[in-house]
Symmetry: C2
Subunit: 163 residues, 2 copies
């Protein structure tokens, strides 16, 4: 049932890459804000908190980063001890992680792109940069999803026993 | 490599259910529109076409329905002929289908929920029913995703050879 060493090392590298991408996306979305002066006194501030999709994206990124770290720790442990690894845990956690990242990235991109258009029509160009940064964070999470999806395919194929 | 008959029949039932749910979602999103009278002469009509997320949802639902039909045909064929089935095609097509449905559902829900809030603040309650129908279509697609995800887990586990 054990996967080949090459495929394990490839998975480990992709998992580290996934974690780094999630972390970058997390930083961008959490620091994204835009303040607009209305007249000279009052001002409006928009943050990720004001949109459900960006809140979901942040929550998913935090959970994804934690799960990703756990996977990296397990993978390094089984590489160092030359153990059997955890093929079934890998199978399910990779599926879960890839679904989580994909849904957060899709929600962020979907909301960001359509909100940008609607705000532009209704309010003006003030919020363009805010939504551009939000979409950038979601796009980075989408790349993290692609890494996680490749790992997920590798961990499915690792279940095929060699004769 | 062949999966047990019970798991094959369970997969087939879930695939049929997936197809039906995709089809319902498709009908709801394609027929969703809202016309608002502005004064007595001009009127504004919103349709799924006006939002990128709903366009993507529709496109994904069409591709998903076609792929789902192909899977059902192959599953029935291999059940009737008592053949080996197509485990690797199932593995990859199930992964692709579940990713497609999840990303479309997430984009639709993310955009629908946040647009509803923004339109309510900026324009009023006119478009609530439009976005509610859009979110309903996306939620049905999310249920279709859950069916596809279970099938995907079954087809991953089917790769484990029995001793």
């Amino acid at each position: 049932m054990a996967a080949s060493k090459g495929s394990r090392i490839a998975s480990l590298i992709l998992r580290v890459l996934t974690f780094i991408l999630i972390f970058i996306s997390l930083l961008i979305i959490a620091t994204n804000s835009k303040t607009i002066l209305q007249g000279t006194v009052s001002e409006t501030k928009v943050e990720f908190k004001d949109f459900y999709s960006y809140r979901y994206l942040l929550a998913a990124a935090v959970i994804g980063a934690a799960l990703s770290l756990l996977q990296i720790a397990l993978a390094i442990y089984s590489l160092v001890t030359k153990g059997e690894g955890t093929p079934l845990f890998d199978l399910f956690s990779d599926k879960f992680l890839s679904y989580l990242l994909l849904s957060a990235a899709s929600a962020g991109l979907g909301a960001g792109i359509d909100l940008r258009v609607s705000f532009k029509e209704l309010v003006g160009n003030f919020f363009n940069s805010f939504f551009d940064k939000g979409s950038a964070a979601a796009a980075i999470l989408l790349i993290a999803f692609f890494c996680a999806a490749i790992v997920s395919i590798l961990s499915s194929l690792a279940l095929i026993r060699k004769p």
